[in-house]
Symmetry: C2
Subunit: 488 residues, 2 copies
């Protein structure tokens, strides 16, 4: 019986290519076992490992209340139910594609137009990336991916396609900016290993960095892929989360630039988009592939049959995105709220000496805890992470899960919670760091040997904590850390 | 430039594994180019190639009108919008899984219970079949599939997985019933060809036959797969379309039978389900994998990330399926309406001498036009099909697209249209056949050589048609065939 349960399955089913053992997902489990709730479970783990955008959901709810006919499941819109529920054309509802094309233009400052006939839908960005990989690469082929990168790529692009990902090293010394040298070095290495590189995958704005790529870097990228005849997939699912200057530049704009236009073969350029982050609808599974290559559009559209967007959802989104006034207001207000939240977090951390990479997009901070590591190793990073998640009770994500080349960086998501949870999490983080103030001030000082799982220098009791350490915080006069609670 | 557009793509993208060149899809295109509309385009092609269930949509619309709070996009339900729009757990909403499990039990007469924790969602049955194939088989491995079978299987199970399908021949002489001999012969042949067979895929109720499998056949199937240590995937997406006795028997019931229970390794048994046919929501993309194998449940659930059901849709369906009284009424009324429609079509065709395979489920008839073929070849079948689609202007699907081993059979879908379109299509079909009455009465009589594309004996002008041929029809006193219109 055991044999049938396991050994008669496919290699994919028996393998661990899904990557669910990564710390990124391990942290989610810790949260799920003991989730924070302000009243029901105030000492629970706060989920800061989830890049959700919940800050402007009220605007959408207002719109729905004012536009009940936009839904086929309201008294006002039910007359359209039959036609919509039965629509299963993989081209999608024309108004849906038009709405998404318009949104893509708007989130790129209307400096470039998108053709609705090139909009291919898919099951979230997850499905979009897999479909793109299936279209562009054979098993064993590879994509170059600058680090640090979203851990889900290891699943989305590799798991069922057999495609490989080759990291392109980016470093803190130049704020993790992608360089030509790093690209060439990764490509060279792949050639030495006899691996066929079929493309380069960039994420702009970056997850986990929250930074945007500047025009010069994007031009370098376009030149690089054309020179080497490989594809470029630009993941732009955080386009509308950019909240301050300089604004976001899409690859769609770069390939229109005079000096690039001539040298660029557009057949090589593909964009992955989604409404999960920019609009805050991850549950609706709206992923988009926008390709300049007709063959990819055709093939991806056929593949979209495996992950079409529910027509109930297409219909709603078509109506919502056709309301120009609403979309404009939503995007502006969403950016304003994200900027505010980013500011609160950055300032709160800075006051206790924690630095973050300067960024202006995404739904997260890239937090530098290198001073808290005794040795600059990934073992130490994991040990610190386990303290943060199990003792400080905040689920942040360690840099290693993003394939970061330097230990000590952590991604902190800040847009998936309300103001109250923000204050609790900041207080916990600040309390924790203040207890390790000496370490923060001088990370070089010698420490005694410690348990790798729970480094002793990070296990200081909060009982010795001075209240004024907290009172100097502009946000959290009363520390909420469960560690504090447990020791006082 | 051409190189990049095509040659830098994957083998999958460059190949034709999608199967869109099959006549099954070709017929859809003919319909799309000239779709019938009772007022706007009364001479257009009538779509009878689409297995949609539109007969009971009014009941769902009534329910929605009475339950506006079931939607997160109504004034009454919008307070749940944020939680639902942000929910992206691949386990799905618990109430959704409970509702689907309950529906699966009910459509099987509540003779067997389904465990909500074994319900895995996917992007329609399309996604469910692909995920199952990815879990069970490696590239090059094969599934046995009794013919005739749904053409989409060639795409769903094979295209991106590299899995093969091996036909198991079923014949008209025993009403296309699956036999042990046919299974053993197909398996033997595969062994000779050094192909690893990983499973057997059955469709019960059958698409395109509309028939159900009897208990003895199902027991034989379970014994066969256990004896050979291969998986059994039972596609039961038409479970609730069975409209007359004997009722539907699920594989879930068979494996509970005393004489089967002991010998059956449940790890080998998997069911594919969907709400597209039974409830009539193909646009909502609700596919279900129900596996008795824990490893498959776990792996399929992870794979479902590529085709999750929109939470907007999950939420609606959870509410609808929790209304026992509604579900019971819907299923009973839907079966009643399907039975009535089936009766009208069968009778209408029988009166002009067209026989259909006796069936009691599905959304289609399996029509026997062998008497209209001069020679019993698939070339003749295709020639006849082209006349039907381009001259009679009805898009039915030829048997060859279902891998039927005998030429001359056609699938006719009858539940995707209103009563008016039914009468028009019946009148066209009857008019066409009456013009070939001699052929129907004596299919053996010699004919002159003819053009393969448009056989001359089927190109008789309708101008010679006798009105009383039509007046004897109980349904269509005035023929609506565009051929008639063009010649009178």
């Amino acid at each position: 019986m055991e044999q049938a349960g396991e050994f008669l399955l496919s290699k994919i089913a028996r393998g661990d290519g899904h990557g669910e053992n990564s710390p990124y997902f391990e942290g989610w489990k810790a949260y799920e076992d003991d989730p924070f709730h302000p009243i029901k479970n105030p000492n629970g783990v706060i989920q800061m490992g989830l890049a959700e955008n919940q800050l402007s959901c009220d605007l959408v709810q207002e719109w729905i209340t004012s536009n009940p006919e936009a839904s086929i499941c309201s008294v006002e819109g039910v007359h359209e139910f039959k036609d919509i529920a039965n629509f299963q054309d993989y081209h999608g509802l024309p108004l849906f594609r038009q709405g998404v094309a318009k949104l893509m233009g708007r989130t790129r400052g209307n400096r470039v137009k998108f053709d609705p006939d090139r909009i291919v839908m898919s099951g979230g960005a997850t499905g979009a990336h897999e479909v793109t990989a299936f279209c562009l690469a054979d098993p064993g082929d590879a994509f170059l991916v600058p680090t640090p990168y979203y851990p889900g790529f290891d699943r989305d692009l590799r798991w069922r396609t057999g495609v490989q990902l080759i990291p392109v090293t980016c470093e803190s010394k130049n704020n993790f900016k992608l360089t030509k040298k790093a690209l060439e070095s990764a490509l060279e290495k792949a050639k030495e290993d006899n691996i066929t590189v079929k493309g380069l995958l960039i994420t702009n704005p970056s997850n986990p960095l929250g930074t945007i790529m500047d025009k010069e870097t994007l031009k370098m990228v376009v030149t690089f892929i054309n020179h080497n005849h490989i594809h470029l997939v630009s993941d732009e699912i955080y386009a509308a989360t950019v909240f301050s200057h300089p604004g976001f530049t899409s690859i769609a704009e770069i390939i229109e630039e005079e000096d690039i236009k001539m040298e660029c073969d557009r057949n090589l350029v593909h964009i992955v988009y989604s409404l999960s982050k920019d609009m805050g609808f991850p549950g609706f599974r709206v992923g988009i592939i926008y390709s300049y290559n007709d063959n990819v559009v055709n093939c991806a559209r056929k593949m979209s049959s495996f992950g079409l967007v529910s027509t109930q959802t297409q219909h709603l989104i078509a109506a919502m995105l056709s309301d120009d006034e609403f979309v404009q207001r939503f995007l502006a207000e969403s950016a304003r709220r994200l900027a505010k939240r980013y500011g609160i977090f950055c300032q709160g951390l800075r006051q206790v000496g924690i630095k973050c990479l300067q960024s202006n997009g995404g739904l997260f901070l890239w937090m530098d805890l290198r001073p808290l590591l005794k040795k600059q190793t990934f073992e130490e990073e994991m040990a610190l992470w386990r303290v943060i998640i199990h003792k400080v009770k905040i689920n942040v994500s360690p840099g290693c899960s993003f394939h970061c080349c330097e230990p000590g960086w952590f991604r902190v998501c800040y847009a998936n919670m309300d103001d109250r949870a923000v204050q609790v999490s900041l207080a916990r983080m600040r309390g924790f760091v203040l207890q390790n103030k000496d370490v923060m001030l001088s990370s070089k000082k010698p420490c005694s040997p410690r348990n790798l799982m729970l480094p002793r220098n990070l296990m200081l009791s909060f009982s010795s904590m001075r209240m004024d350490d907290f009172l100097m915080s502009p946000h959290s006069p009363i520390p909420q850390s469960p560690l504090v609670k447990a020791t006082t």
